[in-house]
């Protein structure tokens, strides 16, 4: 029962979010590439923690006529605004030498468009809400996916072993799921968080501010390193009330000119740090490795959708429209127990063949077992799920079987589907065979027939035997 819920939820989530999720993944992939390229530019300083604020301030003093502001971007660029020999300038600087690396130029319009699209689909606030919901759905998708995966392969521990799956799409889906569960979950979480943050959900938290008397506490610029800093604003003029504003990642100091004594220290509320953390997790802008993982995860999402679609198209859509055909009139009832739809496909084929042979055929899932007034023959096609368990549309069969006595005596045959690479090959079908044999008015047409990896040849030999027996 639960398995069915996970599968249905996973499918509906994927189906409902597919278009937007696809757009977000593709644009996210392009932005990942941008983040990677940005980290290879000369202005990306890879060891900000090695430069103290003091050395950087001194280096700039020797090279600039006047500095207005130093800021350190999420991409680890050190940006200076001020007046040099060439006039007012805005440039990336080498924090060690204080020399210009490059001028700040507007970011490429292409990436800017992609970014805007990724954030809001060009729909401003409406789009932001949609993207936020998609991010939230992505969290649910990864969680339902994980449950499904764990059941499919027979337990969480199996995650660390090789996949035994044969079908290429299913195999890809499983492998991607193993590798990218955590990155995808984090992308969803941070994306959703950033959207909520954007709509001012956390304004109730206040900063904590301390003030100090002049000279009470001196800020030691040697102990502050560039990786702690967001921005340093210089005093506007020499006036006494004009101060340095030193914004760190988690607090901001106002500092007096001359002796660098601290006048106030404002510690940001926790959500400020959470936002930075989520921004980093979502963009990986300051770290090549994280950016690479995120880029691959965005690409993986596209493959998830493609392989997911391939797995789904045949089965889930069919399963939604259950065929409750003339079960009351049928002399041959075909029952299937399937998780992924393969047994169902074979069951449909069998029904078609038997109808051609002029049998009146009923087709339904094992869970729909009930009293079949005219049935003389019951044919069961059953897959095994995970660790020898019943598939989701067969888990209530045993109960229903014991409570529905058939009016006629029944001949039955069971066809088990499975894979020999799993230890409990066709276990569910074996259990069914034992269960039915115990019933008084049930007799087996032939021994249990097992099929490895959906072998067509084996299926036809069983089908041939069944047709002969029914003549």
């Amino acid at each position: 029962m639960m398995k069915g819920v996970w599968r249905k939820t996973h499918f509906l989530l994927a189906f409902g979010s597919s278009l937007f999720l696809f757009l977000a993944s593709v644009s996210g992939f392009i932005l990942g590439i941008e983040a990677l390229l940005d980290q290879t530019k000369p202005q990306a300083i890879d060891s900000l923690e090695d430069h103290s604020l003091k050395t950087t301030l001194e280096a700039l003093d020797t090279n600039m006529k006047e500095v207005f502001e130093i800021s350190i971007s999420e991409k680890n660029y050190v940006i200076v605004q001020g007046i040099s020999e060439d006039g007012f300038e805005h440039f990336y600087v080498d924090p060690k030498t204080g020399l210009k690396i490059n001028s700040v130029t507007p970011t490429s319009p292409f990436f800017k468009q992609i970014r805007s699209f990724h954030r809001s689909l060009f729909l401003k606030n409406t789009g932001r809400i949609i993207v936020g919901i998609i991010a939230f759905l992505l969290i649910l998708l990864s969680i339902t996916g994980l449950f499904l995966l764990a059941q499919r392969i027979g337990g969480i521990k199996q995650l660390f072993f090789l996949t035994k799956e044969k079908n290429i799409y299913r195999k890809t889906h499983i492998i991607l799921g193993k590798w990218f569960f955590i990155p995808v979950l984090l992308i969803g979480f941070s994306g959703a968080y950033l959207t909520i943050e954007r709509f001012n959900a956390f304004t109730n938290q206040e900063s904590n501010t301390k003030t100090y008397a002049k000279g009470e506490k001196i800020l030691d610029l040697n102990t502050i390193h560039l990786n702690d800093i967001a921005r340093v604003s210089y005093p506007f003029s020499k006036a006494e009330d004009e101060v340095y504003n030193i914004e760190l990642k988690d607090r901001v100091f106002t500092v007096r000119q001359g002796d660098f004594s601290i006048l106030s220290e404002e510690i940001y509320p926790f959500h400020h740090l959470l936002k930075q953390w989520n921004y980093f997790i979502h963009t990986g802008e300051s770290n090549l490795f994280v950016a690479l993982i995120l880029t691959l995860a965005a690409l993986a999402l596209v493959f998830f959708m493609f392989t997911g679609l391939k797995i789904t198209s045949k089965t889930s859509l069919d399963l939604l429209s259950l065929n409750k055909n003339n079960l009351k009139e049928a002399s041959v009832v075909i029952l299937y127990g399937t998780e992924t739809g393969n047994s169902y496909q074979f069951a449909k084929r069998l029904a078609k063949t038997l109808r051609k042979e002029n049998h009146s055929v009923g087709l339904t899932s094992l869970n729909n077992y009930s009293i079949f007034p005219k049935a003389k023959t019951i044919l069961i096609l059953a897959a095994t799920y995970g660790d020898g368990e019943a598939p989701s549309n067969a888990d209530r069969f045993e109960k229903r079987f014991n409570s529905s006595a058939q009016p006629h005596s029944i001949n039955f045959s069971i066809l088990g589907f499975g894979s020999k690479s799993y230890p409990k090959f066709c276990q569910f079908a074996i259990n069914l065979q034992t269960l039915l044999e115990k019933q008084d008015n049930f007799s087996s047409l032939m021994p249990l027939f097992k099929i490895n990896n959906q072998s067509e040849t084996d299926y036809y030999s069983w089908e041939g035997m069944v047709i002969n027996k029914l003549k």
Binding site: Q81, F88, V104, P106, S116, K124, F236
Partner: protein
């Protein structure tokens, strides 16, 4: 050879008729405390009748939002200055990101000397995505006296101060 003479002629002209000197103005802009997207702003010189003369500073590098600064944008439209090649050189300080609520920013603008102390006005237009647009957030005389004072804004600008070097 011809181009050599051209260069010679231009150098000669520049030497004897120097182009108008510029006044350098250091500006400190403090933004009101609000949450949400950063503010864009445009600083332009207007004549007494508030006709556009020249844009001297633009903050915010996403061109798609410039149309929100309607007065500035209409001026660009009138003069057909849309393409990047025409647009960017026109603005002396296109300088990356926007400025967020509660932040302050220091920058320098340059104004031709003949516009200074001559009845011209300095206008600050501001806009914040999905919040509001203020055509005359600050609109003050472009004169020595006026720039000595701090000015309060009408919209997103809390306060602005200048240091002018003539």
């Amino acid at each position: 050879m011809q181009s050599f003479f051209k260069i010679l002629l231009i150098s000669f002209l520049l030497f004897f008729f120097p182009i108008d000197k510029e006044v350098e103005i250091k500006c400190l802009v403090e933004i009101m405390d609000y949450r949400g997207e950063g503010a864009y702003f445009v600083i332009s010189v207007l004549d007494e009748e508030e006709n556009y003369i020249k844009t001297v500073y633009v903050l915010g590098d996403d061109k798609s939002w410039f149309s929100e600064m309607k007065a500035f944008w209409i001026n660009l439209r009138k003069n057909n200055l849309f393409s990047d090649e025409d647009f960017y050189p026109l603005i002396d300080g296109i300088s990356g990101p926007t400025i967020s609520g509660g932040e302050r920013r220091v920058f320098q603008i340059k104004v031709p000397k003949n516009l200074f102390n001559n009845g011209y006005l300095l206008r600050f237009e501001t806009a914040v995505e999905d919040k509001a647009y203020h055509m005359n957030d600050i609109n003050i005389a472009l004169s020595t006296e006026s720039l000595k004072q701090a000015h309060m804004g009408q919209g997103f600008i809390k306060k602005i101060q200048f240091i002018a070097t003539e």
